[in-house]
Symmetry: C2
Amino acid sequence: MRTEHFTTAGALAAMPGIADGPQLPERRWAAVLTADVVGYSRLTSLNQEQTYLLYKAHRRELIDPKIAEYRARFAKSTGDGILAEFETALDAAQCAIAVQERMVERCKGESVHRRIVFRMGLSCGNIIADREDIYGHDVNVAARLQTVAPAGGIAMTEKVAELVGPSLHLPLEDLGVQQFRNMCHPIRVFQCRVPGESIHENSAESLV
Amino acid sequence: MRTEHFTTAGALAAMPGIADGPQLPERRWAAVLTADVVGYSRLTSLNQEQTYLLYKAHRRELIDPKIAEYRARFAKSTGDGILAEFETALDAAQCAIAVQERMVERCKGESVHRRIVFRMGLSCGNIIADREDIYGHDVNVAARLQTVAPAGGIAMTEKVAELVGPSLHLPLEDLGVQQFRNMCHPIRVFQCRVPGESIHENSAESLV
């Protein structure tokens, strides 16, 4: 995964004394993808080592290469998933779908204890970027939408749906306007399910 | 903030071809501190730029130096806070208290729109570490406890409370056993409030 992130601030970081002071943040338009593992805490508390190894195998063999293929400008681990930033909403959406489609294959035949299922959120807008992370309303929105995405599927904002809908090979479903905790305005949510995704229905959240 | 993380895997990363394959994870005992901003999404959706600049000032002037002072072995940004790993529970707890005590001073006189209030979680146990992140049950527990910590205060596991209680200058309060979503076993929670913390009661979550 590319985690390098070249900004003006990054260049200044080489100059002692300047990097430590306040910096004007870089602002840019971006499409934001977040992903996490359904029931990750439960899987981890049942078998920490196995969950780590399975998760990392999906990252190494599928997710990180896909993120690179779709030219993510920034990507970082969030422990049980990733936060990635793309140049266009279509790059982000096609990357998300490519991963979720392939995950159906990878999970076939696995017991629920060994099944790593991702849910994903997509948003776009003006973000703030510095040397260590990306910030802003649409980063938060992507993370919030991810929590309502179907297991193995993708939730996105209306803006993303408008931008990518005509170009995707999968239909988008309008879930209507939803109010999220700690968000000032309601958000109209669209979701995308991938074929065969029902394999994920009996996921880690059902484990005792 | 020190984000370098020297592991066997890290050394191997210099050797092309080896770093890309599966790696045995490093396991180690650690104390884990997580922190995030109360009502961060709300503050961001009200004023993205201002929230970023205020948050980064607290990080740069207070939190990152304190994390370095208490010799964190690993630390990373989580967007609106940090995940840090310490050698001992006492390092983690004293770091957390030092930050929260100083935040009371820093927030005095600030309007609720400009007030950045952290809540923190502390846990300890065997974790898994690789080149990009730390993983494991106790990393998840710290993150979960953080969500029930009082605004401006700290929540911790029973184990942390046992290890640090006699050495702290502040009392710990036993909140009893709590069941968290997606955690297999209930967790006995202790909390630590810092003097003057009531300044945070009218925090960002009250903003419309």
